[in-house]
Structures are given as C-alpha cells and as structure tokens.
Symmetry: C2
Subunit: 227 residues, 2 copies
C-alpha cells in the first residue's frame, strides 16, 4: 500500500510546493522530480487537490501531536498550577521551530506551512481549520489560565502576531535577505532569538485602548456596544 512511488511523489511535491507555491507547481513537475509517470498522481491520490492535502496532513498531524504532547508534559509536571507562559510558548512555537530545524524534510515542510496560514485557497483553509481545532483549544485554555491578567481578546491578537513572527522566522528567509546579509544557518540561535522576541511581545504592557464607544458616539451618552 505505502508504495515507494507514493512517498517519492509526496517528497517531490513538498519540495516543489515550497519553491514555487501550490498553484505554480504542476503535476508534470512533480512526477518528473519524483521520477514517476504523470498519471501516477491521479492513480495514487486521485487528484492534485487530494495530493496537496496528503502532503500537509502527513506532517501537520504529527506536528500538532507533538505540540499537545509537549503541553501535556508541562501540565503533568505542574500538577494543576498554571504553567509559565514561557513553557506554553515553548510547547507551541518551540516544537515548530525545532521541526523546522530538522533536515529530513521537516525544514522543507515548515517553510511551506508558514506560508499557508495566509493562503487564500478555500480548501486549504478548511483543511487547516480542522487540523488545528484541537491544538488551538488546548493552548488557548492553557494561556488563559497562565495569563489571567491579559484580556482574552488581547491575548488572541498576540497569539496571532506570534504566529506571524513564527511564520516569517521559518519561511521568510528569502524575504529576510531584503534586510541585508544575515546568517540563518544556526537553528539553535534562531530558536533562542524567536523565543525571546515572542515572550517579550506576549508579556508587553497592555496597550491603553481608547475606549471606543465613547470616542465614536458620545458627547451625548449613547453606548454603541458594550465594552
């Protein structure tokens, strides 16, 4: 069942998706790279879309399992006490960065993944939503417990910003060179740098938001929506 060709196709597709993007990668490029016949993709996967999904699922499922395992380990250790934010960040982002440092395809994949959260393609988004549901729920709960002083909406934004930083840390090394010559060969250094940055952002002083309803509607009092 798990034929050699199947795996060669998955590997080739992963590599080419990273280099050229999803749309611009053709089945002919993939099968040539995999040294397989053009029809092999439709034989083994059914369609290009199904192949794409398989490429993601293969590693993403494993990645999120690792994340949950890391979080569970910290939680078991803490015996019901809230975790330190650094531990939660480590469990979510650290695992990802470490996977990105793995040269056995993990690196390739993470670059692809980092670019995919903002991918507009419908079916990719649907797929990611399913695949992330559990891990998001677990980490949200852990963070809320660890940071009771941070409003939940504020935290969700910060989590989102952190995802952006992670995405660029992993996938944006090309864009990075816009900034000048830079060494991205040391994954441990990248890990340390990103963790510092993320914790710094996560624990930053809360912004003093202008209270919206007042600014918009009032001098005469009439609340537009509850704060």
């Amino acid at each position: 069942m798990e034929t050699d060709t199947r795996i060669r196709i998955l590997d080739a597709a992963e590599r080419l998706f990273v280099m050229h993007g999803l749309d611009a990668t053709t089945l002919r490029m993939i099968t040539a790279e995999a040294q397989a016949n053009l029809a092999a993709v439709n034989y083994h996967f059914g369609s290009k879309e199904a192949l794409t999904e398989a490429v993601f699922r293969r590693r993403l499922t494993w990645l999120n399992e690792q994340r949950i395992a890391a979080l569970s380990a910290f939680e078991a250790e803490a015996k019901g006490q809230p975790l330190k934010p650094r531990q939660i960040v480590e469990a979510f982002f650290g695992v990802a960065i470490r996977m990105a440092a793995d040269h056995n395809g993990g690196q390739t994949f993470m670059r692809l993944l980092g670019r995919t959260y903002t991918e507009p393609t419908e079916f990719v988004r649907k797929f990611l939503a399913e695949e992330y549901a559990e891990v998001i729920a677990r980490f949200k709960a852990a963070f809320f417990k660890a940071l009771p002083d941070v409003p939940q909406e504020e935290f969700l934004w910060r989590f989102h910003f952190m995802m952006g930083a992670l995405s660029y840390a992993i996938s944006g090394t090309e864009a990075l060179r816009l900034l000048g010559p830079i060494d991205d060969s040391d994954p441990e250094a990248l890990y340390a740098r990103l963790m510092s940055f993320l914790i710094g952002g996560l624990r930053a002083p809360l912004p003093d938001l202008v209270v919206k309803p007042v600014a918009k509607t009032a001098r005469k009092p009439r609340a537009k929506r509850a704060a």
Copy 2:
C-alpha cells in the same frame, strides 16, 4: 494617458489578487471585473506580469515615501539625538497599519502586500528588493543608532519577526479566525495592540546564545561579539 480603463483594471486586479492570489487570478477575471475587454490588459500594460508590477508600484512607492517622511520628521525633531525605538516603529509599522485602515483601496492592497513578502515568485521578489532598498537602509540606520545595546544581527532578526507580525496583523484576518471569534473592525485598536506587541518584542531581553565560534573552533575564550 491615464485612461479610465487603466485605473479600473488596476483596481479590479488589486481586489482579485487579494481574494485569489496572484497566480489564480486570470486576466479574464480581471477584465470582467473591470468591465473591460480581455485584450485591454495587454494593450495598456503589455503583459500580466507588467500589470502585477503596476498594481504593486502604484501604492508601494507611496507607502515607502510616507515611511521615510515620517522618519525624517522624527529625526528633524530630535536634532541629531537617537530616536526612541517607539518612534521608529511608529514610522515604519504604524504608517503601514494606518494605510491598511484606509478603506479607499489601501486596506485591500495591504492585505495583498502582507502576503507577498513570502511570495516565492521570482520577479515579485526582485521588484520588492528594489522598491524597499532605500527605506530599509534608512530604518536600519535609525534603529542601529537608537539601540546601540542590541547586536545588529539580533536586531535584523527582530525586524524580520516584526514584519511577520505586521503581515499577519494586516493580511491574516482569515487565519485569525482559526483562533475563535474576534473583532477586527477597529483599526485604532489593532494599531495599539500591534505597537505594544512589537515594542515588547523589540525590547525583549537578549537571548543568551550558545556562542557558536567557541563551540566550533576554540575552547580558549574568544568573545563572539560585544554586548
């Protein structure tokens, strides 16, 4: 010269690029949306690639001029003294966020741009490199002056992470919904949130990096860089 059709095509292309991505947007979609003939793109722009470049250049040039103007204003005010990091962040990221809040097409464009730094397409990267050269140079210099205690390489990484957070702040509102229901309708709030996060990350304690050259070359002490 600046015909009506030309502008309608630019606007339509911008909208569709955001919704479907560069590759997946066809000239037939664009010309239909712009209520123009299919051949109009090649007549007015020469090719799809040239149209793409025009879409970006139209707003990106202006955006980076705004950034430089904002920075120059702060620098004039400071009379040679280093700026506060917050001011520099404001000049670079604040201007972008504010443009993203502009509903006259700016919002649309910024979502597109945010997704483009990591775009693998060759000619887009080339183009961005040119378009960003000056603004990058100016802001690097300002930051280095304002943060003499932060090693330059460390700072470049942090700048890169900040770009990631900005990108997600602007373009990733779809991905954001993975995290749960969230209100992204208030640009002022987003601005305040992002600024807090960025400053927090920028000013985070430096990571204690394992000193690589020592591990590789020496045992006898040899500092890699000055703190």
